[in-house]
Symmetry: none
Subunit: 137 residues, 4 copies
Amino acid sequence: MTEVTLETAKALIAAAEDKAVEIDVPMCVAVVDKGCNLVGFHRMDEALIASIDIAQNKAYSSASLKLDTQTIHEVSQPGESLYGLGNTNDGRIVTFGGGFPLKDEDGTVVGGVGVSGGSVEEDREVAQAAVDVFENA
Amino acid sequence: MTEVTLETAKALIAAAEDKAVEIDVPMCVAVVDKGCNLVGFHRMDEALIASIDIAQNKAYSSASLKLDTQTIHEVSQPGESLYGLGNTNDGRIVTFGGGFPLKDEDGTVVGGVGVSGGSVEEDREVAQAAVDVFENA
Amino acid sequence: MTEVTLETAKALIAAAEDKAVEIDVPMCVAVVDKGCNLVGFHRMDEALIASIDIAQNKAYSSASLKLDTQTIHEVSQPGESLYGLGNTNDGRIVTFGGGFPLKDEDGTVVGGVGVSGGSVEEDREVAQAAVDVFENA
Amino acid sequence: MTEVTLETAKALIAAAEDKAVEIDVPMCVAVVDKGCNLVGFHRMDEALIASIDIAQNKAYSSASLKLDTQTIHEVSQPGESLYGLGNTNDGRIVTFGGGFPLKDEDGTVVGGVGVSGGSVEEDREVAQAAVDVFENA
């Protein structure tokens, strides 16, 4: 896909929800567009309340920095080059995995997806399901 | 309906989107649950960026105050009893129409819906479509 | 023009600065793109410090609401339909003139310009000079 | 140079943009004056959205602390003397390289420049190009 429309966001969120059901962890899922503005958000029943914010900010972080939030995790550690990155942008940068940039066929970042609710591994697995839909549609 | 699950929120948002398409105004639509926490949000293509915040906060305002935001509009005017209400809650109270509380069969408020993107009349019409689904399902 | 690139923003800001020099009022001038994100900002020598924020938020307001901020001024007055609009979006909505949306040939809003530093009339005149460049280039 | 006027800021930003083009990394560039208030800001096309905030705050950090943000990086690490510095000033202090103070001939800090968009090394290289213009003009 080349652009994050609402139709696209719905498809990505649905794929993430399917994966979340499969691994049996209720999740919050958010999708932002190229301008890093929210397009769609769903909170599955019993998902963590804190994840409402975290999922949205993971999507924002990935789109605005054009990075997997797992990479942000690594480069923002004490002693690493971008230590303190999580304090910028009014606290909207999330420094752990679960957010991925969405890229078009040319590799240009055109949005981001963020998932929160489980372990980082679970969040990443669910977010990846959304990315797969975007890249393969 | 008696509770704002994600399934319910999706149905309400879909009804709002249908109405928005019918009147040809792209909208942002948000649904919150009894705890006033976001359950679902969709931004239709070309909807106002400012409406991302406004729709969510209309839903929050309606659920947290158990009031139609049009009523908040009236009681928060200069000289009226709740003048300044829009300055409370970290600026999350919206003082114009487009948000409705969601009530179960007993009239208990169990959530809220907020719509933003058009005139107040248009926002209210679209939000009402969501309320109708909730009350008649 | 059809898109707010940095080159475009520079041309708009330059036109605004020329007009500001002409009327002899130092101004802050800001330009945002379709996603309502800042592209360029200049503060002329001796311009008001408060105008740094106001100019940027006028540009944001105009692009995110697709409205002249003078119109926001009118519709957000006590008793008017959007009373309290200035309290939304974390206080980023400016409720007085000096911000204009930027529209492409089809009339689609693709950005915004905001000017602050003088009277509302002066701010509007300077912002209009930028709009003229956008619409006639 | 002895003072950060808009004319000066434009020259510094232009030098930074030239360097950014040379190394082929789109950047956000910000310049603040002695009062630590923004004078000029440019976002190059395709620069990271997160860098809008980071570039401005690097300039602010450097001018307000009279330090290279790379030095802030070092002294704010866990266990170091100014650990937690990045949490002060409403989150405006950036704790990684890319911001430099601007000094007049006497070594007095009269402003700051901040660059964001690439690696810390790239950001520093581009910011240095602006500093060179200031110091050698």
